[in-house]
């Protein structure tokens, strides 16, 4: 039986390129990874393309055009394992804010010739279109979690990526709780860990860029934010930003404001 190195492909849909850059930012591990796998399709980094099928596809970005709807099915068909990387691929990204607005108006606001722009009315996660094997969270994803996912799939085991809250990570880091000690509104209790609790380490409240944790208590979070003096509209906006379509954050935003006050 011929043995070939596992073939890894990196795909891009609507995104900022930050999650695929995370791969290039693994400076110490990058050449080691390149030694163990064949980087078969990674357009941002290479002009060489090896035809599929691929053992592992990392997919960045959300689906926002009719062409994307077709292409994501092709990517799935060519991939043994498909992992989405980042908030865009996993929850539609910040560009999913169009889902709550009139995209024709958006088109007119940004472009002088809106008729040249082909776009869907929605920005949707990859899992809305094809089966996904694993979703890696974050805006952007964490290097350590990316390396864990690549290692796991190359050795046929499940990735060890806990869905616990940022609070757990924050305690481990030894941060002082900004919410309790400083009264700073912080989404740590309802947000999934993985970033390293960096915002609290910089005296800032978590703003939820990894999306909802496994079992978020949203009503309690909203109550706490209100008691800390956060007004309904800012509360609505903080949930409706980088992971607006993640179900728990979507309903949190809706609960933060009464229907008539919703923007």
């Amino acid at each position: 039986m011929p043995v070939h190195k596992p073939r890894v492909a990196v795909w891009k849909f609507a995104s900022c390129d930050g999650c695929q850059l995370t791969m290039l930012d693994c400076e110490d591990a990058l050449l080691a990874i390149a030694d163990k796998v064949e980087i078969a399709n990674f357009r941002e980094a290479s002009s060489a393309v090896v035809e599929g099928p691929y053992d592992l596809s990392l997919v960045e970005g959300s689906v926002t055009t009719p062409e994307d709807v077709r292409r994501v099915k092709e990517v799935r068909a060519e991939s043994r394992v498909l992992v989405t990387i980042g908030a865009c691929a996993t929850a539609g990204g910040i560009q999913a804010l169009r889902n709550f607005a009139d995209v024709d108006e958006y088109r007119r606001l940004v472009y002088a010739q809106p008729q040249y722009i082909e776009t869907l009315a929605t920005s949707t996660p990859i899992a809305d279109h094809v089966p996904v094997d694993f979703e890696l969270r974050g805006c952007p994803i964490s290097k350590a979690q990316l390396l864990e996912v690549i290692s796991a799939y190359l050795t046929n085991r499940a990735p060890n990526v806990p869905n616990e809250s940022v609070c757990i990570e924050c305690k481990r880091r030894g941060n002082v709780c900004v919410l309790v000690a400083h009264g700073t509104p912080c989404l740590g209790p309802v947000t999934q860990a993985g970033c390293g609790a960096i915002c609290p380490a910089f005296h800032r409240g978590c703003y939820g860029c990894f999306g909802p944790q496994g079992s978020p208590n949203v009503p309690s979070m909203l109550k706490e934010l209100g008691e800390l003096g956060m007004a309904p509209l800012p509360m609505y906006r903080v949930f409706r930003t980088f992971n607006a379509m993640a179900p728990a954050f979507r309903s949190a935003a809706d609960s933060a404001v009464s229907e008539e006050d919703a923007p």
Binding site: K12, F13, A14, S15, C16, D17, G18, C19, Q20, L21, L24, D25, E27, D28, L30, L31, A34, I39, F42, R43, E44, A45, S46, S47, A48, T64, T65, D68, G93, I94, Q95, L97, R98, A101, E105, Y106, R107, L109, V110, Y111, A112, Q113, Y116, I117, T119, S123, C139, P140, C195, I198, C199, A201, F202, H203, R204, Y207, C209, R237, F242, P263
Partner: protein
């Protein structure tokens, strides 16, 4: 009459998705379109109704390669609207954070995206198999840039520590001192990068660019200054839209800028260096002299050397800042408690060139209108001009060789297509 069309469907080693279509009839380039098919994400639209405080984090998501640039332009534009001034150590710390992004982004482009073109490899990973030392040095330099952003910003992609008025928390003297040894090593690596880059072989091409960049009285431009060009532009940044305008071509999802009444222009390292080489710090100036770099570089391929010089500059400045650092009393300047409706605009120098932001705010500090002009939108027309000249002069090449040459000409300018739409597919059509 022989007709040729050449198609490049997906330009590799650029940030984002684009294509190039060239139609040649006989010996004339009839049509050339740099197509950006990166899907539109509508940032200027959904920024409406958001608080001025949210703009730095939201606009950072336009580009994972230069988030600091977006955060800086957003902060300065908001501070302009709110009548705030950020001075002293806070201003200096912003430069230090930006130096981290310049080091990282330039090292990424030189070693991982651009060097393979000169040395005949499809990518840096395959280049690394035969020249491991060069690639390892590049990765180390890139990593040090990232470390600087981690210390000041919490993480390198979409840093969390930037706010209108300054930072959430400023670093301690010890936190900055801890990164000094890495930066000292980076200085050696950066100087070697300039020597490495100047030893590459370059096609003998000169372009007649209108260079546009910021210029500051006392420093190499980054966060502040006037907008100047080698053809007489000298305006405050708030007058940018009076002199430059965006147009929208039917084949592209990106807007393209022109100098009104003059045409295409170039922003980025070549422009900054041509207009500001007298402001380089001593070691940056000395390495430029050592490798015989002319004061005005018009050969776009040689931009790889200029990026190297700018890394030396950024490392040198970082060391200088760290050595003189005294933590400010407050991590930020408090924005005013009450507002009146106002408009603010600012330009800062992203690694790829000038990044313009303008915001109109209402009396509650909510964004009513946003305008963002990214470096690659400004360079797009000028990149098309470069490629048109190249194709006209290279018609004897077969389609494969011509396609390859076109892609290289595009990569010279480190286009960031994610930014420009806020991609490249090459399509050469010979008819």
């Amino acid at each position: 009459m022989i007709e040729r069309t050449i198609h490049v469907d997906y330009i590799a080693r650029v940030e984002g998705e684009g294509a190039l279509k060239v139609r040649i009839r006989g010996d004339t380039v009839e049509d050339l379109e740099l197509k950006i098919w990166e899907p539109p994400r509508f940032f200027e639209a959904f920024l409406r109704g958001r608080s001025y405080r949210e703009a730095p984090d939201i606009t950072a998501r336009i580009c994972g390669i230069c988030p600091v640039a977006y955060q800086m332009s957003a902060c300065h534009a908001m501070e302009h609207a709110l009548g705030m001034r950020v001075h002293g150590e806070l201003r200096t710390l912003r430069r230090l954070l930006y130096c981290g992004e310049w080091i990282e982004s330039h090292a990424l482009h030189i070693y991982l995206l651009h060097a393979p073109d000169f040395l005949g490899y499809p990518d840096a990973l395959r280049l690394a198999k035969e020249h491991p030392e060069a690639v390892k040095k590049g990765l180390e330099l890139k990593k040090i840039g990232n470390e600087l952003m981690q210390v000041l910003g919490g993480r390198e992609i979409h840093p969390v520590n930037v706010r209108v008025g300054g930072f959430y928390r400023v670093p301690t003297v010890n936190e900055l001192a801890a990164i000094r040894p890495a930066l000292e090593r980076a200085m050696g690596l950066a100087e070697e990068t300039v020597r490495f880059a100047s030893g590459l072989s370059f096609p003998n091409i000169e372009e007649d660019y209108e260079f546009v960049s910021l210029r500051h009285e006392h420093e190499y431009p980054m966060n502040e200054g006037e907008v100047v060009s080698n053809r007489g532009v000298k305006i405050p940044m708030s007058e940018f839209e009076d002199v430059f305008e965006e147009t929208h071509a039917p084949y592209s999802n990106a807007l393209q800028s022109v100098h009104k009444g003059a045409g295409s222009y170039l922003v980025g390292p070549l422009a900054r260096y041509a207009l500001n080489h007298d402001k380089l710090l001593p070691r940056a100036r000395s390495i430029a002299r050592e490798v015989g770099l002319e004061d005005v570089v018009r050969n776009p391929y040689r931009s790889v050397i200029v990026r190297g010089v700018e890394i030396v500059q950024a490392v040198e400045e970082s060391l200088k800042i760290i050595d003189a650092y005294r933590p400010p009393d407050e991590p930020y300047v408090e924005p005013p408690a009450s507002f009146h409706a106002s408009t603010g605009a600012a330009i800062t120098e992203a690694p790829r060139g000038m990044l313009y932001h303008r915001y109109r705010l209402n009396e509650e500090g909510l964004i009513q209108e946003a305008k963002i002009v990214a470096p690659t939108s400004q360079n797009q027309k000028r990149i098309e001009d470069d490629v048109r000249h190249l194709v006209s002069a290279s018609l004897s090449l077969d389609d494969t060789a011509l396609t390859d040459a076109c892609e290289k000409a595009i990569r010279n300018h480190d286009p960031c297509i994610s930014c420009a739409t806020h991609f490249l597919k090459l399509d050469i059509e010979r008819t």
